[in-house]
Symmetry: D2
Subunit: 412 residues, 4 copies
């Protein structure tokens, strides 16, 4: 197989540094990243949704677009779905349609925030009727997950309050625990419940699961099939996310990621576009945990999912770019010389330890990723290949411009 420009020189340099290049490439080929069905449709802010020509309008078009992302990247065989946005009559048919595109259905995400009933919360709502409705919806999602062959129930709660005094923090916590206990008991063996936390929005005074600690406490109260989901945009400014990742891995409670990037709040931009070093540091913890017997099992089961809102940019191209950015971070993390790192850390050589990370981070891994893609039978540059493919123009012609929905998909 003809090499990629620059790859041979890079491989030699890495080999000289002691890197097992073949092992790195093998890891990169094994990596799997899940894309979200809702990332292919129109979305926006509370101020405006700018409709994109050809944006997918239903789950079939979303799967078709996801298949394109998988075709050009080779590492995105699963697609997260959101109920009821992606609800269909015939789940078996959907599963087969996905399979025909080379895809599987990934995490199932109940929607617990877009019904008029949920104005004051879902599982934390003061009215037991509304909580019942939320529980029933989650139970329905477990059924759907079983039908489509998914083993992940991914829960995000918009529950919270907007004004001091509006509701009782502790009562709401008890309501949530009661609701989730029922859902947890109904999960089949092998299914995991991933519990997402968020600092704020759409609730603006308090959010019932405001940080990883609250999600962790709920998960430990429920049992071992419950874990925490880290959305990289759901933290206060300055938070050291890689530290939280390492902490949760050590506790066996890191279940998965929603990847995206932000500069301000939950901006939902392309992962790695604002702070690529932070993404590298997160993957540095994941790679270290994969290689540590105490954490390897948890680390290998982590679900890597993208969750972004492409407000002004083309959706499919943004998704491919996101996958590339994640691969870049992972590739660099795989190049970290862990032996030298440990030695410098144990010697208390602060700057030398820091430079071991820098040495990996400064490496231009584009030739390595290109070579991996070539060896996987893919175009070495997935963005360029997609742009050349004419797919964007084709769907723009065929689908036209959808009537824009509200800021978030499905909002009305």
């Amino acid at each position: 197989m003809a090499g990629v420009p620059g790859y041979e020189a890079l491989a030699e340099t890495l080999a000289r540094r002691g890197v097992d290049v073949e092992a790195v490439k093998a890891a990169l080929k094994r990596q799997r990243i899940e894309t979200p069905s809702w990332g292919y449709g129109n979305s926006g802010t509370r101020f405006k949704v700018f409709p994109w020509p050809g944006a997918a309008r239903n789950i079939y078009e979303k799967l078709a677009d996801a298949a394109v992302v998988h075709r050009f990247t080779g590492v995105c065989p699963t697609v997260a779905i959101h109920i009821p946005w992606d609800k269909v009559e015939d789940w078996e048919g959907l599963r087969q349609y996905a399979a025909s595109l080379g895809l599987q259905i990934g995490a199932v995400n109940p929607n617990l925030f877009q019904d008029d009933d949920y104005r004051l919360g879902s599982v934390c709502h003061p009215d037991p009727r509304v909580r019942r409705r939320a529980v029933e919806h989650m139970l329905e999602c477990i059924e759907i997950a079983e039908k489509v062959g998914s083993s992940i129930l991914s829960l995000w709660f918009a529950d919270g309050t907007n004004y001091p005094g509006q509701d009782d923090f502790r009562a709401r916590k008890h309501r949530m625990l009661e609701a989730l206990s029922e859902v947890y008991r109904r999960m089949p063996p092998g299914m995991r419940m991933l519990i997402e936390y968020k600092f704020f929005e759409p609730a603006f005074y308090h959010t019932d699961l405001a940080d990883w600690g609250m999600a962790y406490v709920i998960a430990t109260h429920l049992g071992p099939q419950a874990q925490v989901l880290v959305d990289t945009g759901h933290h206060p400014q300055g938070t050291n996310i890689e530290h939280i990742v390492a902490f949760l891995l050590d506790e066996g409670r890191l279940g998965g990621f929603h990847f995206n990037n932000r500069k301000y709040a939950d901006d939902d931009l392309i992962v790695g576009s604002i702070n690529p070093f932070e993404l590298f540091l997160i993957f540095n913890e994941l790679v270290a945990a994969e290689q540590d017997p105490r954490t390897a099992e948890t680390a290998r089961a982590v679900a890597y999912m993208i969750d972004q809102s492409h407000n002004i940019e083309p959706k499919i191209e943004a998704m491919i770019q996101s996958v590339v950015n994640i691969q870049t971070a992972y590739a660099k993390a795989l190049l970290v010389d862990r032996q030298r790192l440990r030695e410098a850390q144990e010697a208390g050589d602060v700057l030398e330890a820091h430079r071991v990370l820098l040495e990996a981070y400064e490496t231009d891994v584009r030739p390595l990723l290109a070579q991996v893609r070539l060896e996987m039978g893919l175009d070495p540059d997935p963005v360029a290949a997609f742009r050349r493919s004419g797919y964007a123009e084709k769907v723009a012609r065929e689908r036209g411009i959808a009537v824009a929905a509200s800021g978030y998909p499905g909002a009305s």
Copy 2:
């Protein structure tokens, strides 16, 4: 006139402290607060708009609701409008309709963010055709302002970028200055252009007018009819807003406020609901500036406007509560013993100076405000009076539940 319970005792206490209670009451009666037409319609977050029964559906209903707020508070005779949300054929008719309700039209707000053309900005857009459109819209708003008798053109730009490299910061600045120069030249004498800034959202990498400094620089380049508008929710966490207020007053460039409160980002909650002490400190600067010959003229011309998004609470009641909160802050600021404050400051007595503010802040001004309302011929408790009035139930019956729009009014 029969007194309000507790008022006489309070008045005596204040008099003993040296407060000219009659002057304070007179100031409270003179205070004017503008409510926004869009605060009476449905609004929400990007995730969901929860429609409120009876929420106003058009400018006529909005004015009717604003008139109710004015009826119960006595200090809200003007209403800001937003074009095109509030656009009508017959502006003279609208003006008369407002007058028939005891209202006038206040600030005119062009919409420069909700058209498909504005995906990459309005006055900063790389395409001159889009910039032209934005300028024409602002010129139209000047005409509307003249027709409805308004002297304030209130400008908020959502312009910004989402990704590093997306556009050229300096080129965008020049485009904005060019556009605003044309608009500025077309303003009649006596009209003011208020330029709003915002830290972020809906743009998530950079906002063209990101802070007061950028709005100030643009205003000084334009001329004396241009001033800065401070939206209390548009700052980074921790920002000392009262300091910015004092600084702009000193430079003669504080034009007005958009009042609301936030705990996290631009949450647009009821003003004073999250941090009432901050609101008091802002009014403390305004009262001080009103009493200082160097700043009195600027201070007295400041436009006090509410700009909130009532996502889960009743809109009219929220607006009345907002007015009450502003009055509370202003009343307490009027009670500050400025002579003692100055003496403590000049003596470097840190805690004594601080306690002079606390002494005013800790005062329960509810009897004072109740008395002011009574003397103005109003019910001493505007919220209770409104709840008793049956108006909310009446409009809920008559108007029903509007089909919810997107997160922000007018979004589609």
Copy 3:
């Protein structure tokens, strides 16, 4: 006993609202607030320590000053000590000296950050020798606590790193757990270990116990005698502290507070001076938990401690002001109509529930506190009484101006 001006009218108003005023006063008389020995000495920022005339120079002078605070407030009978700053040869003698002043020794705080050995951490340090030293110091502090009759070991760790890669997050977590397990096992029955967390500073990349969740996990791994200590200045901007307080109360893991206030980082200003409403909301949770059988035991055992750095203001006066601010928040929280609050919450009446809190918060409780003091045989205005007492001038004369130490007491 002659009443305080305004008290009778206030008591009548409160009684009309259904408040049991005698019960409120009894609660205020029972409240206990611990002051820290280090708050009486000079302290400052990294840039400069401004020495204060008469600032206490040793534990005997600190206790003398604390006794003055207790004399004027009546609610501060215990004093936290910091080892080795307050180390003496004769602990029994110190205990008796304190008793002679009407004081007891409160929480014992080991110093794990000011030795040259601790450059890279204490219990998380890569070198086992340093960890050993840290453990020995904590064991020594347990002994001291037993000698001085204290039942609280209060732990703050400055442990963290300044650069990505500097050390291994998970290894450090294991080191901490190992060290604290040994210390925990050595605590006598009835002693509690309070584990403090902090967002950042003095470590600037990661802090080993960065948030309440990390402190909570460590505490649950240790056992029921370990609880979390909340320092109100140790959170990211925007954090809803009262929510964390309620969450920890519900889990039975809230052990105590370090009270102070901040606008930016860990500013260590006078509690309640920047955001008094937040302090009220924290006490609102504490009062609610005291009255709830599920949480009453935890709530009543919470240790209320002040931890501030008086950089530019007189230390004793600042401490008295801090006590007053805490009393104010507690008094207002006691006035909340919990029955009406619950009804409004359960009815989903957002603004009515919010106003129940506002009604209590807006109340001027100064006459109530003055009356409580009078009934306790104290001057109704402790700050004024202290200023009149001449104590500040006396110690300034007697002690002079100490040679300023570094930013934090004991730093060299």
Copy 4:
């Protein structure tokens, strides 16, 4: 001259992309970075100063260390001094000593925060006597600058307040303007006054120059020799610094930088160690401005200064690493394809424009920098060369461990 491994391949790749590699190398050779005398001595946090073996104890040792940094990097010929920390009797002697080491004295920094007089501020202090003292000190610094051949007076004010009400914002602004006007008038032609701003610390309620806008307004009131100095650690979380840089360049008011990095507050870590992409984006604006006739003059006069606090790491090595990080960011910024960038921006191709930056940023410029150093007669790896040189061990032996000062150099 023998090439650096990887350089030839890189040069070819860059040439193919259209980069003028010789011009890039020339620019890198011309770059000048000033190091601060205080970065070579011990420093720390308010909690502890960890003394470093061999840390410089006076201006002569600091210059010696700075000379070593210049010897290994080739781009650091000037050293900023701080008065009175670096005060000597014989300024001409100091100048000659510096020259003998191949150095010149750079910016002169008055100290306006470490005298007991400055507890409540310097130029904003309520007492005119203190303000006089501050002005005299700045005038003295102008004289020193003239004696040592420096053309930059670099001003940072710790002025601010800790409590609401403590002092009058507007009065303080007037005092500052009055003081700086006198200083400005005394500056000789060709000297520049750089005015630094800071969000907070050591003042914790308000800082008199809290943001770039306030520094800008003061500078414009003073005249063209006054400009703004951007310290990269002095902003609220989330601030888009590169935008501010571009804005100030466009206004002709960007005077210089204090480079460092932070994750939380003013952490003063090694520049580029926490967020290297942000540093690249800042240099991207500087390079663009250098190449734009409208801004070239301002851009070329920008003073690049390091201002860091090396708390736990070796000082000289940290300084060399800082220089390398700045060179890396500058080198990558020089590789940006500005023609393609402009085309993508004008076409509104959001992701393509973003990728033009990424293409430069992802490039591994280490071989390029190594080659530049080789061509300058330097070791290609300055950190390794320094570590090999034995200088650190030598000064540790000769100088020993200094008695640690307070957190900030010179604090007592």
